[in-house]
C-alpha cells in the first residue's frame, strides 16, 4: 500500500534508506536532537565488563561518577548482585587543566593499585585530559613498570568520536591483553561484543539461552568479551577455535580484527530471533567446529519442543502487517531481526522510525543483514527529526496511531509505551517476566507475548501511563 502523508519523511525499504544515508541525504541536521552516549561512556561500558578492573578516569568527577553510579552500582550491585568495585578518578581541577595532570595521573595509578589490588587498570581520558594533551599512553607504560598489574590507556574523550567508536576502541584495546596461544582449546569459542559487566552482557537471559544451547551441543565458552570475563580469560582468548557474537552488530568489529590479526575465524550470523535465525546461529558456530551433527540433533529436539509455539505464532501472525518500532530501546538491530522473524511466520513487516543516525553508525551490520535478505519496508516520520524532546515523542505517537489505522490487520511490535489502535506486543527487554527473546526459549516467550496481545486487545489501556508519557489528551 502507499502512504502519502504530510508527516512521512521516508517510505521505502531498508536498502533505499541505506542508500540515502550513505549519500548524506538522510542525516539529521538539527544539532539539538538525538544525543546518544558519548565515546567516554561507551568505552567505560566495555572496560567495566572485565572483572577486577579499575577504570581510572583522568578527568573531573562528573563523568566517572555518572558511570559508576549507573553501571557499577545500579546495574551490577543492585540488579546483578555483583560486589561494589571502584571507579577511580584523578578529579582534575582548573589548576590541572592549566598545568597538566600527568604527574597526578601517575600517582593515581600507583594509588589505585595500592588501594584496590586490581588485575588490570585502564586509564580512560576525558574531554579535559584529551584537550590539554596529557600523554596517557606514556603514563600507562611508565606506571606498569612500577606496579604489579597491567596498565592500559584508552583515548576516550567524549568529543573524540561517536558512541560506537568508544565500544570499538575499547574492544581493540582489550586485544592487547590476548597473549600468543600456547595451545588450542578444542570445541571452545569466545562470545564477542558484550559489555556492561562484570556479569554477562546487558541482558543476561539472552546470553543464558546462548550458553544453554551451546552447552547442549557440547561447545564450551572461554570468555564472554567483555561481559564479566577475567583478565586470565582474555590472556587465553587466542586459544579458542572460533569467535561468535551474541549480537552480530557489536561483535563484528572485534571478530573481524581477531580474524585479521590472529587468524581466528569469526562466525557471521545475525541475532537468533525465531526458528530460522536460531538454527543459523547454532550451525554458524557448530559447523566450523566440526560439530554440525550434534548441533542438528539439538536443533531437532528443541524444534520439537517449541512446535506448538511456532504453530501458534504462524496462526497469529499470518496475513498480518507487523508494525515494528524498537527505535529507542533495545535498538534497531533487534527491530530488523524481529522483521525477519515475523516474515518467517507469514507477516508483512513494516519497521517504523529506525533513526538514520543509527543506520549510519551500524553500516556494516545493516549491509550484512541486507546480504542475508533482510530488507523490510521502512517508514520514517517527522517526529523522529524534531528537537530532542519528549514532545517529539508525542508527535511520533500521534503519527504511529495514524499509520496503524491505515493498515488492515495490523499488530504492533515495540513496547507498551505506545498506544496504537491494534494489538501491542510488548517486546521491551526491560520486562523480565518474558525473557529471553533469543533462541528456542525466546520463541516460547515471544509466542506468549503475541498471544496475550491478541487475546487482550480489547482490554482498556492505562490512562495514567498514557497521560504520563504524552500529556492529557483532549481529542
Amino acid at each position: 500500500m502507499t502512504l502519502e502523508n504530510d508527516f512521512i519523511v521516508f517510505h521505502g525499504n531498508l536498502q533505499q534508506l541505506l542508500d540515502k544515508v550513505e549519500s548524506g541525504e538522510m542525516i539529521p541536521k538539527l544539532q539539538a536532537s538525538h544525543a546518544p552516549m558519548c565515546k567516554f561512556f561507551t568505552s567505560y561500558y566495555v572496560i567495566s565488563g572485565i572483572r577486577h578492573v579499575v577504570p581510572l578516569v583522568h578527568g573531573p568527577t562528573g563523568c566517572p561518577l555518572y558511570m559508576s553510579d549507573f553501571v557499577r552500582t545500579r546495574e551490577c550491585c543492585e540488579i546483578r548482585g555483583i560486589p561494589l568495585e571502584p571507579t577511580a578518578c584523578t578529579a582534575l581541577n582548573e589548576s590541572h587543566v592549566i598545568y597538566g595532570g600527568e604527574g597526578k595521573l601517575l600517582e593515581a595509578v600507583k594509588e589505585a593499585y595500592a588501594k584496590y589490588h586490581p588485575d588490570l587498570i585502564v586509564i580512560l581520558s576525558c574531554c579535559c585530559s584529551g584537550i590539554i594533551g596529557d600523554d596517557v599512553e606514556s603514563i600507562a607504560r611508565e606506571a606498569e613498570k612500577l606496579i604489579g598489574c597491567r596498565v592500559l590507556a584508552l583515548r576516550s574523550e567524549g568529543f573524540g568520536g561517536d558512541f560506537r567508536s568508544g565500544y570499538e576502541d575499547a574492544f581493540k584495546l582489550i586485544m592487547e591483553l590476548m597473549e600468543p596461544p600456547k595451545t588450542k582449546m578444542k570445541g571452545t569459542i569466545n562470545i564477542l561484543g558484550a559489555r556492561w559487566g562484570p556479569t554477562p552482557t546487558e541482558f543476561n537471559w539472552d546470553m543464558d539461552e546462548i550458553e544453554r544451547l551451546l552447552g547442549e551441543v557440547g561447545i564450551k565458552i572461554n570468555a564472554i568479551i567483555a561481559g564479566g570475563c577475567t583478565v586470565e580469560q582474555l590472556r587465553h582468548a587466542r586459544e579458542v577455535e572460533l569467535n561468535a557474537s551474541w549480537c552480530f552488530d557489536w561483535g563484528q568489529k572485534l571478530g573481524d580484527l581477531m580474524q585479521e590479526r590472529f587468524g581466528i575465524p569469526y562466525s557471521r550470523t545475525g541475532q537468533p530471533y525465531g526458528p530460522e535465525a536460531t538454527k543459523e546461529w547454532i550451525l554458524g558456530v557448530a559447523k566450523p567446529l566440526g560439530m554440525e551433527a550434534e548441533a542438528l540433533k539439538v536443533i531437532e529436539r528443541e524444534m520439537e519442543e517449541v512446535e506448538p509455539e511456532i504453530e501458534s505464532l504462524r496462526q497469529a501472525l499470518s496475513g498480518k502487517t507487523a508494525i515494528i518500532e524498537i527505535s529507542e530501546f533495545p535498538g534497531p538491530i533487534r527491530a530488523l531481526s524481529l522483521a525477519r522473524m515475523v516474515a518467517e511466520f507469514g507477516s508483512h513487516p513494516v519497521v517504523i522510525n529506525v533513526h538514520p543516525y543509527t543506520i549510519k553508525e551500524r553500516m556494516p551490520s545493516i549491509k550484512f543483514l541486507l546480504e542475508e535478505g533482510v530488507n523490510p519496508e521502512i517508514i520514517l516520520t517527522k517526529g523522529l527529526f524534531r528537537l530532542g524532546s519528549f514532545r517529539s515523542s508525542k508527535e511520533t505517537e500521534d503519527e504511529l496511531e495514524t499509520i496503524v489505522k491505515k493498515y488492515d490487520n495490523a499488530i504492533f511490535f515495540g513496547n507498551s509505551g505506545r498506544f496504537p489502535p491494534c494489538p501491542v506486543v510488548n517486546l521491551t527487554l526491560m520486562n523480565p517476566a518474558f525473557q529471553p527473546q533469543y533462541g528456542f526459549r525466546g520463541i516460547k516467550n515471544i509466542s506468549a507475548l503475541v498471544r496475550q496481545a491478541l487475546e487482550n486487545k480489547d482490554l482498556p489501556r492505562s490512562r495514567l501511563f498514557r497521560g504520563m508519557l504524552y500529556g492529557t489528551r483532549t481529542n
Binding site: 562528573g62 574531554c127 567524549g158 519528549f390
Partner: protein
C-alpha cells in the same frame, strides 16, 4: 572515644590530598544544571559533547522537572568543534530553538568548550536581539569543582544577570537559598515544610533559589529582607552576595538545619526571634513535639532498642550534620564515624560545634570518597550506617547490622516526597530506621519446609 577527632582533610569541597579518588560528588556542570533547571518556563542548552547531556538528565531528575514542560538541549560537540571552536554551532543551535515558548535559555558550557575558549557569553550577547527569551550563559565546566561549586557558580550568574535592584523591600520577607543542594532523595518536601512553617509565621517567601521558580521571582529577589540558607554544602556565597549587594540579612546562620527535635526547635526559635514572633515559634515547637510523641506512642517504633549502638553517618553536610544530633538524641545511638562529602571551613566548624556540644568524639572524615568510607567502616566497625545505597554495598563483609538509606548518591525510588526537616521529618526518619530494623530480623534461612 576520648580522643581528638581525626580530620582527614579540609579545604574546598573538591580538593583532595589523594591523587586517586572514587568520588561521591558530581562535577560543577551537574550542579549548574541542577540550579538552572529549577527555574520555570526556561530551557537548558548544554554546550558540550553529548555525554554531558546525561549529567543534565541527572540534574533534571533531581530537580523533579516535568518533562512535558522543560526542555534540555545539547550542541553535541565533536572533534571538529574542539579543534576549530564551537561558537558557530552554539549560535546555530540557539537559532534553531528561537521559537521556544520560554522565558529564559540557560547556556551551560562544559569542560571541552571552556578549554578551547568558546566565548558563550559573547555568543549569547550577540544573539540576544534575535530571540524573544533571555539568554543566560553560565560558565560551568566540570573542572571548576564539585556539583556544589557548580550550584554556587550558577546562582552567582543568575543573581548578577537577573536580579533587579530597583525594588522596594517587603517587610518580614525571606528568600530561600539552595534547597536543591540536599541529598535527601525527596528534598522538595523539606522545602515545602519550610514554606509551610514560614506561611504560618506570617513570613513572606519572595523567591526560592531555585525550585520551580518563575523568572519574576528571581528578578524581585532584592525585595527580600532576609535570606534563609537551606543547605550546608552550597549557597553560602549567594547568601553573602545578597547580603553585601542588597542588604539581605541571613537568618539561622550557623545553626544546623531543622532535622531532629533540638535542631528544629533551635531553628524555629531563631526565626521567631528575628521576626519577633517567638510565641508562634514556640507554639509550632510545642505542637510538633506533642504530635511526634503521640504518634510514636501509638505506632511504637521498635527501633528504640538500638540504645548506644555504634553508628556511622555518611552523607552530605546538609543532612549529615543535623543527623548527628538526631542519631544521638532521638535514636540514642552513638555516632562513631561521621564522613561528609564536603569539607568547607564552615562545614568543619558547624560539625565540630555539634560534636562538642553533644560530648561526642567520633572519627571524622571530611571530603570522603567511597574508598575512605569503606576503610573507615572497616576501622570503626559500626553496627548501623546512615548513608546511601553505596554504603549498603560498601559494607558488605563487615559486621554492619543494617544500613539506613537516607541520602541519595544514586537513584532511590520514592513516589511521595517526604521531608526530613521538622516534626513529620522526624517520623519519616524513624520510619526509615524502623523498616531497616525489621528487615534485619528477617531470617535468611528457612527452618522447615511447608507441608502443603
Amino acid at each position: 572515644m576520648g580522643q581528638e577527632p581525626i580530620k582527614e582533610m579540609a579545604g574546598s569541597s573538591t580538593s583532595s590530598s589523594e591523587a586517586c579518588t572514587d568520588p561521591y560528588l558530581r562535577c560543577a556542570f551537574n550542579g549548574a544544571a541542577l540550579t538552572a533547571l529549577g527555574i520555570s518556563h526556561s530551557a537548558l542548552l548544554a554546550h558540550s559533547p553529548q555525554g554531558c547531556e546525561y549529567l543534565v538528565n541527572n540534574a533534571f531528575a533531581s530537580q523533579e522537572c516535568d518533562y512535558m514542560e522543560t526542555m534540555t538541549l545539547c550542541t553535541k560537540l565533536c572533534v571538529d568543534e574542539i579543534v576549530h571552536g564551537g561558537e558557530d554551532i552554539l549560535a546555530r543551535t540557539i537559532r534553531e530553538v528561537k521559537d521556544l515558548p520560554i522565558s529564559a535559555l540557560f547556556v551551560l558550557s562544559a569542560c571541552g568548550p571552556e578549554i578551547v575558549g568558546d566565548d558563550i557569553v559573547g555568543v549569547c550577547e550577540a544573539l540576544q536581539p534575535e530571540v524573544k527569551f533571555r539568554l543566560v550563559p553560565i560558565e560551568s565546566a566540570g573542572f571548576r569543582g564539585s556539583q556544589y561549586d557548580g550550584i554556587d557558580i550558577a546562582m552567582d550568574t543568575i543573581l548578577k544577570k537577573l536580579v533587579k535592584d530597583d525594588v522596594e523591600k517587603i517587610p518580614g520577607s525571606v528568600c530561600l537559598v539552595a534547597p536543591h543542594a540536599n541529598a535527601n532523595p525527596t528534598w522538595p518536601a523539606d522545602l515545602a515544610w519550610v514554606k509551610q512553617v514560614l506561611f504560618r509565621m506570617g513570613i513572606k517567601v519572595v523567591a526560592t533559589l531555585t525550585h520551580r521558580t518563575p523568572i519574576a521571582e528571581i528578578e524581585n529577589i532584592a525585595s527580600a529582607e532576609t535570606s534563609l540558607l537551606l543547605s550546608h554544602d552550597a549557597g553560602q556565597k549567594a547568601a553573602d552576595y545578597l547580603s553585601a549587594t542588597f542588604g539581605i540579612e541571613q537568618v539561622c546562620k550557623g545553626i544546623p538545619l531543622p532535622i531532629g527535635m533540638t535542631n528544629t526547635q533551635r531553628w524555629l526559635t531563631a526565626l521567631g526571634d528575628r521576626f519577633d514572633i517567638l510565641k508562634t515559634a514556640e507554639e509550632i515547637v510545642a505542637e510538633g513535639e506533642r504530635m511526634v510523641m503521640a504518634t510514636c506512642r501509638r505506632k511504637w517504633p521498635m527501633a528504640r532498642f538500638m540504645y548506644r549502638t555504634p553508628a556511622a553517618i555518611v552523607a552530605d553536610a546538609t543532612v549529615g550534620i543535623p543527623l548527628v544530633r538526631f542519631v544521638t538524641e532521638e535514636m540514642e545511638m552513638t555516632p562513631e564515624l561521621v564522613a561528609l562529602y564536603t569539607s568547607h571551613r564552615s562545614v568543619w566548624e558547624l560539625l565540630e560545634g555539634e560534636l562538642k556540644s553533644l560530648g561526642l568524639n567520633p572519627k571524622v572524615v571530611y571530603g570522603t570518597d567511597v574508598y575512605k568510607t569503606r576503610k573507615s567502616l572497616q576501622e570503626v566497625r559500626p553496627r548501623v550506617v546512615f548513608g546511601s545505597t553505596i554504603e549498603r554495598h560498601a559494607s558488605e563483609g563487615l559486621p554492619v547490622a543494617y544500613v539506613v538509606e537516607v541520602v541519595r548518591m544514586m537513584r532511590q525510588f520514592r513516589m511521595i516526597n517526604r521531608e526530613y526537616f521538622g516534626y513529620t521529618g522526624i517520623l519519616n526518619l524513624l520510619e526509615c530506621v524502623q523498616n531497616e530494623w525489621v528487615m534485619g530480623w528477617r531470617s535468611k534461612e528457612r527452618r522447615y519446609e511447608a507441608k502443603w
